[in-house]
Subunit: 422 residues, 2 copies
């Protein structure tokens, strides 16, 4: 496709989304839920054709020589289709954030001022070849009153088109326009570049995927991006921590899953408790095959540890590797996190009320925790119902982003003929 | 200054601000208020030297041939210095948003999850040669726990430095670091370019000034910008409006002040009420010297009106000029606003409950109003205490931005040893 044709096609998608956004913004909760439930039913009914399309996608990807981890994320099963469908039903069951008015109060002039929660408008979601994201992201955008443009990895295009068909069937059944959910079906890489510069037609971009994808999009976008870059999460075991709780929680934070962004990557231990905590904890890590990289003080306690280098404190391993540092104080722990952390999720394990409060207040991360595992940083665990991603940005939404993070608030002013200066 | 020296100086400002941001983020409300009150006292005490420095600024600007409106905005008086000082005292009296925890609730896993309001970090404010903005912006950033870098128009540099000195005196008196408030004192235009690309050191940019300034900064910034571009505000007089209220409110919305962003620029009138509203209203406008530009239907009712052209519907006149259109329905009014509006502030005048609610819900502007004047879109009038600007962005803060708009929320998780999947 030549670049001008491509551009005009992307602009057409954006214009259709903008027009649809006005319809979905004012749609009733009942209509939005009906669309979600009908789409779920269509996905279940079309399971066989979705599996067939997906098998073709996987076949092509295998021919291209993509690796097993890639193929695994691309592959759908009867079980994963069922979980997509029930995911849409769960989104239908969530409270509709749109239209809620809060804080209405009367001002000295007589006007009443409050805030109404409103959709963002048009959301572009750019993700890798994971078809389950298609249903999930479309469902969250729809329920929060937004139109969306979905650009998934090109290797999943056949699967994504079948999923889009189910979403369209749901929308039509609820008398809502198809273009509330659009799957970008031209696979040119340049199309992403067009999409992320569609000022005035796209309101927010949500990239989901590896660091490379997110960095490229943040650098090139001319539209706000809701994203997280790294998850260099810390657990700090304070001097007053309960030793058995510290061992249990620090184990869970590292080993429950290695590849997730809320997995602990660096363990900080107060020097006064290190000798009690590190030896039993490192036994557990060793038995689970976790490679340990420590500073000098840690290596004196657990000699088989490898020496940590400066780069280890910055590392998001996403693997069974853990950096360990012994610190002399809470201040040193907070300073370490400020310097090396990624403002994603950090936890303190302590029995000291004052230190817990200082950590909560002074650590500038999207989630700060006391006495629990960083693995809990998750939309479901937080009660958001579902999440479209985790944001480490400072504006708008921080942490897991659910339906509310896909909305904003406008001021509503109810008057009775008041005039200013009158 | 060569470009490398300039860059390293701007980076140094950013690093100092980042370091200071950690101090001010955890400062007590008492310390922040003390700093504000001491700064106010210093401004009053130094009135003579500030007036002298300002007189030099004005003198230089006059020599450069800058116009009267420019000189007027630049000039300080005893009265405007008093109003700066009392502005800081008013900010001290506002509730501190930082640290507030909301929505703490227990999840099935046992963890308690809530949100804590936190400062954004480092805010860069770029504005024209208006020294009063220096005190105002510094005060709002300080109270909301943020460090700030202030870059005012170079013609106001002497005045801004004296104001900065008063802020520093306040900060020192409260044992807070000077670099919580930094006035950029090198006037190279390129310094702004460096400042708005200081990723990792500056968290948010707030441009205040004309459309040219804001557009340039939005285009070049690599950091989120909190801004409003245009204020093309509408008032729609619905068929059921009270005629005398409509005349009074539409008069106020246009004529109370002409140059403000919340002034009405287009009046939409339902055809069923136009013959009752337009003639008396246009008499008032004519007496106040407002130039009227109408569509054909409006001109049939008020023949001396000039014909409006397509460009008039997009215009932010900021002047005694008003565009007038007669529309057949609420839908036509909403469509007009969606097409030509700037999502700033729009009002409906109506006695119809259903129409009022549709307008509030369907018009996608940062402030939507019923039966009152668009001139009320203002931080003071909304009870925010003060505002750093009005945002027409969709993410984060929309409408007047006060202390809360200069903060964000992080998740806090209080555990008792819970582990995930445990």
């Amino acid at each position: 496709m030549n670049s001008q044709t491509l551009q005009s096609q992307v602009v057409a998608l954006g214009q259709a989304a903008r027009a649809a956004s006005r319809h979905i913004a004012k749609a009733s909760t009942a209509a939005k839920n009906q669309a979600l439930l009908l789409a779920a039913a269509a996905l279940r009914r079309d399971q066989a054709s979705l599996l067939a399309a997906n098998a073709e996608d996987v076949e092509q990807a295998r021919k291209k020589g993509l690796d097993e981890a890639f193929l695994d994320r691309l592959t759908l099963t009867a079980k994963s289709i069922e979980s997509m469908a029930s995911g849409l039903e769960q989104i239908a069951a969530l409270q509709d954030p749109v239209g809620e008015i809060t804080g209405l109060s009367r001002r000295p002039s007589g006007i009443e001022v409050g805030r109404m929660r409103v959709p963002l408008g048009v959301i572009a979601i750019i993700y890798e070849a994971r078809p389950n994201v298609t249903a999930d992201a479309a469902g969250l955008c729809l329920k929060s009153g937004n139109a969306c443009i979905l650009r998934g990895g090109s290797e999943a295009l056949r699967s994504n088109q079948i999923i889009a068909r189910a979403m369209h069937e749901g929308l039509r059944g609820a008398l809502l326009p198809d273009s509330v959910v659009q799957v970008m079906d031209f696979t040119d890489r340049a199309a992403v570049g067009e999409l992320i510069t569609l000022k005035g037609l796209v309101d927010v971009i949500v990239p989901r995927g590896g660091k490379g994808l997110i960095e490229r999009i943040s650098n090139e976008a001319r539209i706000p991006v809701l994203k997280h870059l790294d998850g260099v999460c810390h657990t700090f075991v304070d001097a007053s921590a309960d030793v058995s709780m510290a061992v249990k929680v620090a184990d869970n934070a590292k080993t429950q899953r290695y590849g997730t962004c809320n997995t602990m990557e660096t363990l900080l231990v107060h020097e006064a408790i290190a000798a009690s905590v590190l030896p039993p904890l490192c036994d557990i890590y060793r038995n689970k095959g976790v490679e340990l990289r420590g500073d000098e003080a840690a290596r004196r306690l657990v000699p088989e540890m490898k020496p940590a280098e400066e780069a280890d404190w910055y590392a998001e391993y996403l693997a069974p590797i853990l950096a360990i540092r012994i610190v002399p104080s809470l201040d040193a722990a907070i300073d370490h996190i400020a310097r090396y952390g990624s403002q994603h999720t950090d936890a303190i394990l302590t029995n000291d009320w004052h230190n817990a409060n200082r950590f909560l207040r002074e650590v500038d991360s999207s989630s700060v925790m006391v006495n629990t595992s960083t693995r809990f940083a998750d939309g479901f665990e937080y009660g958001l119902g579902a999440e479209i991603g985790i944001s480490t940005d400072k504006l708008h939404a921080r942490g897991p982003v659910g339906l509310e993070g896909l909305t904003s608030q406008k001021f509503v002013v109810l008057g009775h003929g008041e005039i200013r200066g009158g």
